[in-house]
Symmetry: C3
Subunit: 262 residues, 3 copies
Amino acid sequence: MPSGLITLTTDFGQADHFVGVMKGVILGIAPRARIVDITHEIAPYSVTDASFVVGQAWRYFPKGTIHVVVVDPGVGTSRRPLLAEAGGHFFVAPDNGVLSMIYEDSPHKVRVISNPKLMRKQISRTFHGRDVFAPASAHLASGIAPPQFGKLIRDYVRSWNTKPLHLAEQVWRGTILSVDRYGNLITNFQIDEFAGVKTRPFEMRAGTVRIRRLALNYAETEIGELFVIAGSSGYLEIAANQASAASRLGCSAGAAIELELF
Amino acid sequence: MPSGLITLTTDFGQADHFVGVMKGVILGIAPRARIVDITHEIAPYSVTDASFVVGQAWRYFPKGTIHVVVVDPGVGTSRRPLLAEAGGHFFVAPDNGVLSMIYEDSPHKVRVISNPKLMRKQISRTFHGRDVFAPASAHLASGIAPPQFGKLIRDYVRSWNTKPLHLAEQVWRGTILSVDRYGNLITNFQIDEFAGVKTRPFEMRAGTVRIRRLALNYAETEIGELFVIAGSSGYLEIAANQASAASRLGCSAGAAIELELF
Amino acid sequence: MPSGLITLTTDFGQADHFVGVMKGVILGIAPRARIVDITHEIAPYSVTDASFVVGQAWRYFPKGTIHVVVVDPGVGTSRRPLLAEAGGHFFVAPDNGVLSMIYEDSPHKVRVISNPKLMRKQISRTFHGRDVFAPASAHLASGIAPPQFGKLIRDYVRSWNTKPLHLAEQVWRGTILSVDRYGNLITNFQIDEFAGVKTRPFEMRAGTVRIRRLALNYAETEIGELFVIAGSSGYLEIAANQASAASRLGCSAGAAIELELF
């Protein structure tokens, strides 16, 4: 059952009225809902960034939480609004792949939101956060059952598999999923799958730079040194002690990297 | 009746202690109040920006909501603190015109806040958010009736009318109300009043640039193309697909624009 | 007794998943907790900044509030997690001096958090906000008594005394505690101790600049003028009317200044 807890993840920033308007719409429909901001600082239009952030955060919330994700470059086109259920949580988002990491993690059911009674009467062409997604989350929090929103679908958008590609015997090509505030590069090499880096020599290659050091924590490294670390996100990360690995390597989200085990 | 819901709109930013202090003061007086951030990223001292943001957001909240707006370049002078009522909502703000768009939208009553028992004992000269506005909102949420705060006044500050000026038969001079995160320029041409742009050729002029295209959504335009769109705010906006119209035109809030219908 | 109110102060920024994850962990353990953001925009790794911000904000919250402070350059090393009690409030933070201003203000008790049952099962080396501090605050909010967390200690880290140094008869050397959003420089000269500036001529020296004006409010000064003002924080501040004193003086937190009374 949906609880009254609603999280928000958007690329609206915090300087404009958009987030405040969404909160107002939610509380107008579900006055007892509790709204928790995950972030509104997703890079504008970056479905990949949002997919990573919500993919990291959702599982820590209690079951029944409703996660609203509005990063929506296709707003105003025919892209569909979705209500997904996975792992006992609920997700309200546009059908553009932004829920891909949730689909990967858990069995899931996905519906198209098509019931106009659960939207605002007038639907603008540019602000479905206000007109479609906020009302859907609030009606869900108020006890409207998921089947009331619309039909189950199977042809929702999923991003291409973000797993590393096996290039040769002990060589994989991966990618940078995200760059955090500290300039750490979060790769798509899952720690559990590539545990070999903990026991064997390895080389992580990003552009012309080669990194061979695995550190257990920042404090054991030199200031400015580049190293690989088993990040809190469950992925290998490239970091630099009190410096930005992203700046040092000139890398951002989407960049290719290689891992070789020896 | 005021509900326990209090929204905050300030230019304090989010890096300092100011917002946390205001929240602490509110919860110290009204422990069950529910605080919702609209934004703390109003451009410093920009009464115009704050007026637009709160003018957009307030109506979406449930009746009884208390909206605290602290953008206050005159703090420490004799400018008065206000408690306004409009449309079933409450507003606590300095008397500097920041509530102008609310006054325009709805019949309203405005009081000066003068009762020292509803302020902190010591009033600093620089932080009335903490000493005057937060306590007022919290006492209101706790059930203190508006007349307890102070007398009704009629000489509160209102900004000059922000409606477009009629220059010639089919020509109006308007202004940019706000620039959003995406660089969209929100004009003061209300869609309902200037619906002619939907059916007739028109020209929107900003500096040396002339725009003749009305788009229904971003997706139908070319990347980088400038166009006019009926924005979600109820005003015509100048936008560019995945680019900043503000940068393209070198325009910011307050800039003059012209609209001609043919 | 701890109330269900939990404040968060971190250097995680708001673009990443870190803050959302901490909120999820708290609400997973204590579903009725009420979470209030103080700030997540502490300068990365700046224990001094965080110490000032939480030192300013905590006293305004109601007794029983739990303040979580995660600015933690030593994460993954042997630095200890702490649960402190002071002035009827609770503080959960790393043992790196970030609570120094609270220790200065109030009698206090400090415990090391060592009970693994009150942490997440797996403790990462880089994200104790999620694995140690968020769970501790949530268990405390749920009614677990402080002695369950670990033993009282006396050898916790306190920063060197941040009081001004008496250099000569009427001359003191102080320091900049913090620079706020407006570029105001908050000194460590407490207004009550240096009330002489209100009645006697004085000179505040920062680099090569000498300031002799005390203003009561911004409005009485010229635009751009540098002056000293009795700040809302209880300290003397160096400010400039609608300009950044920090830029004008080239000063940031930690810079030395001198005060002479005549």
